[in-house]
Amino acid sequence: MSGGYNEIHPEPTTFWSKYIFSFDHKVIAKQFLWYGIFFLGVGGLMALLIRWTLANPGVPVPLIGNILFSGSGGVVPPDTYAMLFTMHGTIMIFYAITPILIGAFGNYCIPLMIGARDMAFPLLNMLSFWFAFLSGAVLLLSLFIPQGAAAGGWTSYPTLSTLIGSPGAGQTLWCVAIFIFGISSTMGAVNYVTTVITLRAPGMGYFDMPLTVWGLWLTAILNAIFVPVLGAGVILLILDRVFGTTFFLAGASATSGSGDPVLFQHVFWIFGHPEVYILILPAWGIVSDLLSFFSRKPAFGAKATALSMTSISILSTLVYGHHMFTTQMSPLLTQSFMTLTMTISIPSAIFFANWLGTIWKGSIRFDSPMLFSLGVVFVFGLGGLTGLHLGTTTTDLFLHDTYFVVGHFHYTMAASVLLGGFAGIYFWFPKMFGRMMHEGLAKVHFWGTMIPLNGIFFGMLLVGYGGMHRRIYNPFIYESLQRLIPVNNLITTSAILMGFFQLVFVYNLIKSLLSGEKATNNPWEVGTLEWTIPSPPPHHNYDIIPVVKCGPHELGNPNLKTGRDFQYQTEELVQA
């Protein structure tokens, strides 16, 4: 274990040590970024196949259908459909969002924004990526084995996920992949927590950290505590599947003494609810910073924002039962979980009001990172509100397991985190690669994402409210659901449209990498530490470790006499 001394490490010289097995947090961040974007593409394609099936049941998939599903004449077969939604959820959550938001931004932003030369444990950091890589390889492998990939949903509830529900090796490989991924996440968490505590630049108190770092730090803490809970769950599931234990088997399928399938649900959601906040916290932090930067105003109540993020993190550990209202828990438990769930609304409301307070009367610059951040404000608002309907037992009994839930978590998780991730990519791309992304194409990408996105996810809320269940191969065999065919068509059309506009993003990404305009040190005119050094930063980030004298959001101070409307964190706070 190499204790980080925050000293200048010698620069690697060979291709392998520079780009592949690099210890440099900036290189590891980029590795995670490409990894995440790759899986975003895979998961996105799966989503399109799911949507095609729901809008046009029994119709062959155009263009790729005959290649992928030659056995069924190009139509997605029912068992493949179950694999698709399982792998879509798993890939998006663990292999796309997690690597981009936590792996890429966590690695890139934490050391740079707190004025450190690298993470506390660079070797561990590298291992974290390669474990993630291994995990992704195992998951992809499971797509190509006989009997196919896991098909029990991303939640992999028994008995769908035991040998009775899924006899193939796919589900076992799924568990193995998730377990390896958990090891990778825990390694990352050890690094992030330690780095934030020990490597902040002199003068930087916790409340002088950008909110991005706050979000990533809280995420890392939740990761270290709750990922092992899922780890325990999947180990037991593996033992059930491979060695014949009976943890999750009940009734006639368990020989003597009964296991308990519902126990897995408890374990899954004790992990799962913190996990949804693990995913959203980095995006929240990024958006909280960007809203201030591009409104040219200090973040409204930044301290309260940091503290409400902290209390949301703490409360998020106590509400998991709201996923299980229909499992016949005792009414006392149901009501407690409902009350605790509603309690989260209080810090969430403070937090949300602070966002609005930040942009209120700002001199807003509508650059692409800001557009995406404003998008997050809108979609997260909708997502959070729909959470209230689901957190209330009486309405959840009706809405549970319908597309309303799918709409809710796509608004909160998919839409918010995705837009937040894009905001971060457009914002830090100049620092990462030393070139600007094309702003016009970025704006096209924003509107081309934002409008269809609402078509998709609002449509899901509607069909769910109309009674359409999730995870059904062909809902329209039920006559009562046939009236929902037009809305389903709208959703699918929007999804194809949104998919198309992601190509604009990929094009912009590649083009800007190769021939984008050269970026200056500080193209967005903000004062956090990473913008005081060249773009891209040198191998050791800071020649001299900076000394921090003020907070990260000192913009629009009327007393500034420097000709700029912001000040760097290394400058003494200007007072009247």
Binding site: M1, T194, S256
Partner: protein
Amino acid sequence: MSTRGRSELQINLATNIVIISMAMLFATLFMGYAIYRSSAPVWPPMGVQRVSLLLPSLSTVVLFISSFFCYQVSVSTKKNELSKGHKYLNLTILFGVGFMVLQGLLWNQMKSSGLFVSSGIFASITYAFTWIHFAHMVAGLLALLYLKKILKPETVNLLTKTSSVENFWYFLEIVWIIMFITLFVF
């Protein structure tokens, strides 16, 4: 913060986070066990024999002795008596391996008394928990071997690293004691 103080803090933080993570994994297992056991009409379930206490008790004693030697390692290291430290470290490892051999014997005994992995929830818990603990013992043993390698005067932060490995070994000991009491005694 001095560079030295900082890297000590980093090592301590990292060790504690790793221990917390593993503790959460075991806590989840014990939570499951509590639920199985409290919802079962009788424990052990009908037609299942308890595991004889001999081997688990012996394991407990052996692991306890190993932890005691581990404590002596850090005492000697603090007094800068590294050759003594090496001697105690060898004994720690020896008794650690002894514990693992006893676990192997325990599984054999369970099998020969007709308690197979697939014999229901009681067997599931007994086998799975001891397996998972065993896997962590392997990690602990690797940590001890790492300490063996670095236990020399020129190692930076030797005391901090020694106490990290020591704490990890105690953690494994504590988990085993909880397992011994809840799985085998009561």
